[in-house]
């Protein structure tokens, strides 16, 4: 208790403002004054003043960010004016990112190509239609002609873009089960 009291007096306003900023930044939801004062072991009034000071700072320097009051707490967010540019940016993010369902489907196609939708269903045990559409949209897979069997289903294989995105020269560079066994023996 003694040391906590000491700490309170030692911390300058500037330090408190900086700390509040760092905590709001790392938090995964809006931070309340109550939680801030608990964590920092500092007076609620001083914490409130620090948040206000921080808000003024962000406003006065015309930052691209703002300290926004929401759901009884504060969070760091982009300024609304920039929504368009941010949306453009979010669209350009590398498309190697995939949902687990798409990734599973891609794995089956990569190792079993050429492979049909019913065959993928059999291996994964779930419908993969939307995953296949995503993969086609992202150009990670391509149609590889029809299989000469009942219903002549379309076969799929990986594309050149797939090789580029996963840094492979050709399909023989895909790690094999043997490569993996070497690692877990």
């Amino acid at each position: 208790m003694e040391s906590a009291a000491e700490q309170k007096t030692v911390r300058t306003t500037a330090e408190l403002v900086a700390l509040v900023e760092a905590l709001i930044f790392v938090a995964d939801e809006p931070l309340t004054a109550k939680l801030l004062s608990e964590v920092l072991d500092d007076d609620r009034e001083r914490v409130l003043a620090a948040v206000e000071e921080l808000q003024r700072e962000y406003e006065s320097r015309e930052s691209g960010l703002q300290i926004r009051e929401i759901a009884g707490g504060w969070q760091l967010a982009t300024r609304t004016e920039f929504h368009e540019e941010i949306r453009t940016f979010l669209k350009t993010r590398p498309s190697a990112k995939l949902s687990i369902a798409s990734l599973e489907t891609l794995a089956v196609i990569a190792y079993k190509q050429p492979v049909t939708v019913p065959e993928i269903l059999e291996i994964r045990g779930v419908q993969s239609a939307s995953a296949i559409k995503t993969l086609l949209d992202k150009r990670l897979i391509v149609a590889k002609g029809r299989k000469e069997t009942v219903g002549r289903p379309m076969q799929y294989g990986t594309s050149k873009d797939f090789l580029i995105q996963f840094g492979l020269k050709d399909l023989s560079e895909l790690p094999s089960i043997e490569d993996f066994e070497d690692l877990v023996q």
């Binding site: 760092a22 930044f25 790392v26 938090a27 995964d28 939801e29 760091l76 967010a77 941010i86 979010l90 590398p94 190697a96 990112k97 995939l98 949902s99 687990i100 990734l103 599973e104 891609l106 794995a107 089956v108 990569a110 190792y111 291996i123 994964r124 045990g125 996963f166 840094g167 492979l168 560079e173 895909l174 790690p175 094999s176 089960i177 490569d179 993996f180």
Partner: protein
């Protein structure tokens, strides 16, 4: 993604050779060495020896002592440690060979220890580099990235080729019956192995180590056999003989020493 960043936390500079006895359980831990070269460097430092002039006999003895200790504590000795033991014994025997007087000027080049010294020096650089990485990771622990925001799409993952393979294997595994009974082979103890070896030696007088090792059914048994051989050489009147370098090694009963006047 960044907030998922894992933090590294372990005592890199811990005392390697410390043996920790956990009295609560039967669990006995031994400060693990990152490999045989790591153990050798430790022994060289402990013996305050010069890395460029390694007292091979002394270091080999210490090395084997450590391996025996590990076996006694029932720690599985990795085969790489045994390979190094064999290398040390080989260097030791080479150093005992009388030098070819004509080769005197080539003495430095012919030093049987040279290759090992080179490897140790090369290895130590990377060991130091590993320490540097550890320091860096520690400093990085003090920096935090932002918490998640709306635009982060948590359902998507950034995949690598190995993820694709792992995922494929998991899918395949779903279909495979996982009930695979692994029949555990009865493991033979060091004492039993020693008994077998002594009996065989008594009966056959000479044993090919290569053949003896080939009879072993598992890595574990092989290690036990290796230790048994080391033990028997140390404690009994037994000789190890090798006709050509890298050739088979013969284990043979020694002739009883001729008694004076007998």
């Amino acid at each position: 993604m960044d907030q998922e960043r894992e933090q590294y936390n372990f005592d890199f500079h811990k005392e390697n050779a410390q043996i920790v006895r956990d009295s609560e359980s039967v669990n006995i831990k031994i400060g693990d060495f990152a490999g045989p070269l790591d153990l050798l460097l430790f022994l060289i430092k402990q013996e305050q020896a010069n890395i460029f002039d390694i007292p091979i006999a002394r270091i080999t003895e210490k090395y084997l002592e450590y391996i025996r200790l590990m076996t006694r504590l029932d720690i599985t000795v990795a085969t790489d440690f045994l390979v190094m033991a064999a290398t040390l014994i080989e260097i030791k025997s080479k150093m005992l060979l009388p030098r070819d007087p004509k080769a005197v000027e080539d003495e430095e080049i012919d030093d049987p220890r040279q290759e090992l010294v080179d490897r140790l020096l090369e290895y130590e650089k990377f060991k130091t580099a590993a320490g540097m990485l550890y320091e860096r990771a520690t400093v990085e622990q003090a920096v935090f990235a932002r918490g998640p925001i709306e635009s982060d799409d948590n359902t998507e993952v950034d995949a690598s080729v190995f993820d694709i393979l792992t995922i494929f294997q998991k899918i395949v595994a779903r279909h495979v019956d996982e009930v695979k009974m692994e029949i555990e082979r009865e493991e033979i103890s060091l004492a039993d192995m020693l008994k077998t070896l002594k009996r065989r030696l008594f009966e056959e007088k000479e044993i090919s180590l290569l053949k003896f090792f080939e009879e072993m059914h598992s890595k574990r048994e092989l290690v036990t056999a290796f230790i048994a051989v080391l033990e028997i050489v140390r404690t009994e009147s037994v000789k190890l003989m090798q006709k050509v370098t890298f050739g088979d090694i013969i284990l043979r009963m020694s002739e009883p020493p001729a008694l004076a006047g007998g």
